[in-house]
């Protein structure tokens, strides 16, 4: 526990840096944020009033400290574009992104594991080579393009699955409907990590096969399927860790995929906020993604070293 606590302490400067980046990025954007708030044909005192409301009249460091103290308390202010608390937007968006992210992670985990096992059991054969090529294809394919191709195929040509959004009209809460909507985006998003995971499964499977207990199991006369089950159980942890790490990647890829599918998640929110120069949303979004990413790395790191004491990262 102390180690985990230490890792968190170590992450504090990084988190502090993230807040600086989140704050600085929007301030190097061309144009003043006030333009997004008040039309220029407004009178000077109206302008001044609005500037004051948003605290834009204070010097940058003061604005930063104000923003930070509010942010630490979880208050990110009001969205300029949507005039609702940023919290509310983020809470909803992160929830939707998690639905997509978990679905994508699930897809890549299952597919990656199956392919990895196939490759591992057929080491050196054509199926092994196929899987490794497929893995490289995964990291070479633009996720948004894959999404477009799948929409053409499955939504337009075949009409099997919906092309955008999160649920059909009046079907909120219908899990099957949500599943139908999540399939294409999740595959598009989850295709990239499949290669990484299958490679990982293959490697750890081969490592475990070398270990003595497999021989022991064989000697015990266990069925092939039972042995495979043992193998998988032993190879599972590193694979889960990699999947965890890949969730961070999914966070990045979600910007494109969510935009294409009008998926109401964090990526789509950030993309539209960038277009609108909705500063409170951009800042909070970047801060959130950065923080999530750092925390995810810590957890994965920790799980890794807890499972395998040989790995000691600085």
């Amino acid at each position: 526990m102390t180690r985990l606590f230490h890792r968190f302490l170590q992450a504090i400067p990084t988190l502090f840096g993230i807040t600086l980046v989140a704050f600085a990025l929007v301030h190097i954007m061309p144009g003043s944020p006030i333009d997004a708030l008040v039309p220029p044909d407004a009178s000077a005192d109206v302008r001044a009033q609005v500037i004051h409301i948003y605290g834009l009249d204070k010097p940058l460091p003061v604005q930063y400290v104000l923003w930070l103290t509010h942010a630490v308390r979880g208050d990110f202010g009001m969205s300029i574009g949507m005039r609702v608390p940023v919290n509310q937007l983020l809470a909803q968006a992160i929830q939707n992104t998690l639905i997509l992210g978990v679905a994508a992670a699930f897809f890549s985990f299952v597919t990656g594991t199956v392919l990895g096992v196939l490759a591992g059991l057929n080491q050196g054969k054509w199926i092994d080579r196929m899987v490794s090529t497929l893995g490289l294809a995964g990291v070479s394919i633009p996720a948004y393009w894959l999404a477009m191709v799948m929409v053409i195929l499955f939504s337009i040509q075949l009409g099997w699955l919906p092309s955008s959004g999160m649920h059909s009209q009046g079907q909120e809460g219908n899990v099957l409907d949500l599943l139908a909507h999540v399939v294409i985006p999740a595959i598009a998003l989850g295709f990239t990590p499949v290669g990484v995971i299958s490679r990982m499964v293959r490697t750890s499977l081969l490592q475990v096969v070398k270990q003595d207990f497999v021989l022991a199991l064989r000697a015990k006369g266990l069925m092939r399927r039972q042995i495979l089950w043992h193998l998988l159980r032993n190879a599972a942890l590193p694979v889960l860790t990699v999947t965890g790490l890949e969730l961070g990647y999914l966070l990045g890829g979600s910007i494109l995929v969510e935009t294409i599918f009008a998926w109401p998640g964090l990526g789509g929110l950030l993309n539209s906020a960038i277009g609108l120069r909705d500063i409170p949303v951009i800042q909070a979004g970047i801060l959130l993604i950065g923080t999530l990413f750092v925390l995810m790395n810590i957890v994965v790191d920790f799980v890794n070293s807890a499972v395998d004491p040989r790995i000691q990262r600085t």
Partner: protein, 532 residues
């Protein structure tokens, strides 16, 4: 006037061809087989990237006003979407003897959706909210947006419970059309929620009321059964922000929506083939590039003419946009009664364009920067259109760098003009509903900010004179004649670089019935129903 004859002829030919090509389907929509029916859920895929805010001045341009503002609220006077004339709204009648003091007789028996009674005091509450800085509920954010409509008002008062009197600075015959833009909200709701939160709980007198808001995803509206013009036929109206044309089209094909604004133009033949209703109709609209005439190169009229002549607007309308627009020579659309029939046309002519550019002192061409929106109300398909223009201009040596911004940002840039954040731009691609309001000519080409939006630095004393006359005129026919003359001056001065007039393309599922194809940007959804 041989020239305009030819022009007018070509225009009418184009219009005929178009009506054969495209509008044919529109006609069928306006005359549905069964005129009787009601119910159903209408789901509109709109062009905004976000749900507009729902205060009395929604953002996201006129798209926000069309689908949110006009559905939740009513003005005193309604700009009839079908006849291009004024209809009584929350005022059952109005009069002014001198065009300076206007008396509005308010409609009786109208209630806001929360039960609050509509009367002179609620009208004054709303005017106080945007005009009286000492008022408790004065709201600068909305007040700023309405400045152009309220600039002439000096005072207002309730004469009696149902009579409102508004006094203007000077004679203004355009005032009724300004009044169509001022919407009225329930004072009870504003008092209850406060100015900032009100927009999340809007209450008006309009045909629809808010049932549910899912930020960024959808706005659910339900009909106002007590609507004073009669309850809308729909059971439910849902708005979905879909800024990308392809997304709207895909959603239509997969039945996620049954009404799509501007789908990709290349899909029009396919859409028809699949049995959807394609609706188009000319309306006051110009897709133009607003030039900065205060600095080179657009300070020279020859450059502006060269620019316009270099664009093959016919090819753009017919080929690039598959007939979803008609070529433009000036800001006013040809069907309007304000259309300047004798104004010069600027036919596509590369040689002439090149000559003009050389004569203006740019024999080797010139490089300019133009800001443009990525999507949004009335902007049609800005990306392919700007790229087409870019290619066309390159042929005579005008090299354009287009810079894309979100529509809401373009609106604020446009309002700020070329002195603000756009200082390094030579123009801004902008869609104007020019001619929607009587005051548009004055607002866009005579008045500089903060009253108006003559951001191009355009000045023509003759135009100013004409507008002043029209404004003071008490005779509507004479006023329109003067205004038409004024639009003619603007057209011949090329104060706006005209590209095309939009035809308001939208695609409806065959089940959507009862739509009266509007002749303006706005649309009356009370007549629409969706069959099972």
């Amino acid at each position: 006037m041989k020239k305009w004859m030819r022009k007018s002829l070509s225009c009418s030919v184009a219009a005929t061809v178009l009506s054969l090509l495209v509008v044919g389907c529109g006609n069928s929509a306006s005359t549905p087989e069964s005129k009787q029916g009601s119910g159903g859920t209408l789901i509109i895929g709109a062009t905004f990237s976000n749900l507009p805010n729902m205060d009395v001045y929604p953002d996201q341009g006129y798209e926000g006003r069309r689908f949110v503002g006009n559905q939740l609220y009513d003005p005193l006077i309604i700009d009839n979407p079908n006849t291009n004339s004024f209809d009584p709204g929350l005022a059952s009648s109005w009069e002014s003897k001198d065009m300076k003091v206007w008396t509005f007789h308010l409609r009786s028996g109208v209630k806001f959706q929360d039960g609050t009674a509509w009367n002179a005091s609620s009208a004054v509450f709303n005017l106080d909210r945007i005009l009286n800085k000492n008022f408790q509920y004065y709201y600068p954010q909305v007040a700023a947006l309405l400045t152009a409509r309220t600039k002439e008002i000096t005072s207002y008062q309730a004469i009696d419970d149902m009579t409102l009197e508004i006094t203007l600075k000077e004679q203004d015959s355009f005032f009724p059309s300004d009044v169509t833009q001022i919407l009225f909200a329930s004072p009870t709701a504003i008092q209850k929620y406060g100015n900032d939160d009100y927009q999340n709980h809007p209450v008006g007198t309009g045909p629809f009321a808010v049932a549910k808001v899912v930020p960024r995803q959808e706005l659910d509206l339900v009909p106002n059964k007590d609507y004073w013009r009669g309850a809308p036929k729909l059971d439910q109206l849902i708005l979905k922000p879909m800024s990308d044309p392809a997304t709207r089209y895909a959603a239509l094909l997969s039945s996620q929506i049954n009404w799509a604004e501007v789908p990709p133009t290349e899909t029009i033949p396919q859409i028809k083939q699949k049995g959807f209703q394609v609706v188009t109709k000319p309306y006051p609209h110009i897709w133009a590039i607003v030039p900065d005439m205060s600095k080179p190169p657009f300070n020279d009229k020859r450059v502006r003419e060269a620019f316009v002549r270099a664009i093959d607007r016919k090819a753009m309308s017919d080929q690039l946009l598959n007939g979803a627009s008609i070529p433009a020579d000036g800001p006013m659309y040809p069907e309007s009664n304000l259309y300047p029939k004798d104004a010069p046309a600027f036919d596509y002519n590369l040689d002439l364009a090149k000559q003009l550019l050389t004569a203006a002192g740019y024999p080797n061409g010139v490089t300019i920067a133009v800001n443009m929106p990525s999507s949004g109300s009335g902007n049609m398909w800005p990306l392919p259109m700007s790229e087409f223009i870019q290619q066309q201009e390159a042929k005579i040596g005008i090299n354009i760098t287009f810079r894309t911004y979100d529509w809401n940002q373009i609106i604020t840039q446009y309002r700020a003009g070329f002195s603000g954040p756009m200082a390094d731009a030579n123009g801004i691609a902008y869609s104007l509903a020019s001619g929607t309001l009587l005051g548009d000519l004055e607002t866009s080409f005579v008045l500089k900010e903060p009253q108006g939006s003559d951001i191009m630095g355009y000045d023509n004393p003759q135009l100013d004179q004409l507008v002043r006359q029209a404004k003071a005129s008490t005779d509507p026919a004479g006023r329109d004649k003067l205004l038409a003359q004024g639009w003619g001056i603007v057209q011949s001065d090329i104060a706006l670089l005209p590209v095309v007039h939009d035809l308001n393309l939208r695609v409806l599922s065959p089940k959507v019935q009862g739509l009266v194809t509007p002749a303006t940007w706005f649309v009356d959804l009370t007549t629409v129903w969706v069959s099972k």
